[in-house]
Amino acid sequence: MAKNESTQPEIARPYANGVVWRRLSPLATVLVLILVWHWITDWQLVSRILIPPPAQVLQSLAKALADGTLAKHAGTTLGEMMLGLPLGVSIGLAIGYAIAKAPLLEYILSPIIVAFQSTPIVAYAPLLIIIFGTGPSSKVVTTAVIVFFPTLVNTIVGIRGVSPRLRDLMRSLNASRWQIFRKLELPSALPVILAGLKTSATLAVIGAVVGEFVGSGSGLGVLVISARSQYDTPLVYVTVLTMTAIALSLYSLVALVEWRVLVWQRRST
């Protein structure tokens, strides 16, 4: 592939042949893991009650899909996330921007924010359930709370990282506050904010599921608990893998947006 490096510098063609393999390699990892899993169960290294074979999990998946169990519970969890994630992210963006612009606010708010962040969410999730009830709204709140912090921190870092000399340029062009935000601060901070959003996307699943663990009528967190109490280990696996799939898709979605938006960064390296 890259044998002709001496005649053609590597930098001249950053997306050479290797890219296909690099893209496929995560898939290969998954395949190997499934194979190992299969062998472990096939050779009875571990009891099948603890680790059911992949085929059995697949059957359970088919059943949960057919009778609508999975769709119902995943739907609840997704719904909570789809409300909680934007809610937490918008609040994180707004407060992060305010703190970046007014350092005094940081002194006022940082004790609360750090206290919130350093307390495990499992510990105060019951509190949120008491306040917001066992319906979806309490899970929207746990999700919002958990995604708030990475968004906040990355927004502060991103906005503070805006070049002071580009600020001078915008001022000398008599740009309005809105123009400075829209044409300088936002695009300049976007790489950092999107990195935070990737973290938030994966945390959103945790937020919703932790809320459901504590008290809920439906959702993937509820399904895990009920499957476990019925010793339906394959269904536990199906549910956990569904959560993984949701987190991965959401992460990939943000990564895709990042890839589309940050063309200039790829071209600049």
Binding site: L166, L169, S172, L173, N174, A175, K183, L190, S268, T269
Partner: protein, 253 residues
């Protein structure tokens, strides 16, 4: 347009609550259409002066006027060009140059048209869709120059705009600057370290002293225009260069 500096002084807050005088007080006028070069040792407040004239920095004392208007904020008639190109890395060359028009609310098709007409003069043909990181230093500075041109300022403030470039590129860009200026004459204030560059470009050179900067020499450069690179070998050019150099060196004691 005329610039007036009256008892202008700038101090910066220093550790311990004291004020560190950086510039002045200085008083001088810059005539309409004049090409003025500011030279002086590092840290003499040249850049500070440029920032005050750009309306980016409030003077501690005294005031600066553009025509009759007090410079207490960035004025639309005055444009500044920075030490490095100061382009936005996420914008293409086209959109970087078009920024002043975009801020002014000009429609996208119209501003792109305007920039495309300007590109040949800037020798940036074919690079309109490149990103700043893909440009050489000289090309990036030419894009920055294009951005200043589109502001259509009456006064250009140039803070060592070619300082980071190699000597030959710098000379070439300086002369391009003169050529671009001849079409519509503006007042130019150029900060530079390079005495030859100052003599080659300016109508007048002001030498600033060490911090806090004060005017120690005000030298008229009456070389004929248009200027060209080979002028640097002429006796008159050498005499003026020597005069500027001696006034700067008189500071070293």
């Amino acid at each position: 347009m005329r610039l007036r500096l009256q008892q202008l002084a700038v101090s910066y807050p220093a550790p311990g609550g004291t004020l560190l005088p950086a510039l002045g007080p200085i008083t001088f006028d810059i005539a309409d259409d004049e090409f003025l070069c500011l030279v002086g040792p590092s840290g003499c407040g040249k850049s500070t002066l440029i920032r005050v004239l750009a309306g980016l920095l409030q003077p501690t004392a005294g005031s600066a006027y553009c025509g009759d208007a007090l410079i207490d904020r960035p004025l639309p008639d005055i444009a500044i060009m920075f030490q490095d190109a100061n382009l936005m890395p996420w914008r293409t060359v086209l959109d970087n140059i078009a920024l002043p028009l975009e801020i002014a609310g000009v429609a996208e098709s119209e501003r792109h048209q305007t920039v495309r007409e300007l590109l040949p003069q800037l020798n940036l043909d074919g690079f309109e869709l490149a990103y700043p990181a893909e440009l050489s230093g000289g090309m990036a500075q030419r894009a920055a120059l294009g951005r200043v041109i589109l502001q259509q300022p009456r006064i250009w403030l140039l803070d060592e705009p070619f300082g980071a470039l190699d000597a030959l590129t710098r000379e070439k860009l300086s002369l391009e600057l003169l050529r671009l200026r001849q079409r519509s004459r503006q007042t130019i204030v150029l900060v530079t370290h390079d005495i030859s560059e100052a003599v080659l470009l300016a109508d007048r050179i002001i030498v600033l002293s060490r911090r806090p900067g004060a005017v120690i020499a005000d030298i008229a450069i009456d070389l004929p225009r248009p200027r060209f690179a080979a002028m640097i070998y002429q006796p008159e050019f050498l005499r003026l260069t020597k005069q500027v150099r001696e006034s700067i060196e008189s500071l070293r004691d």
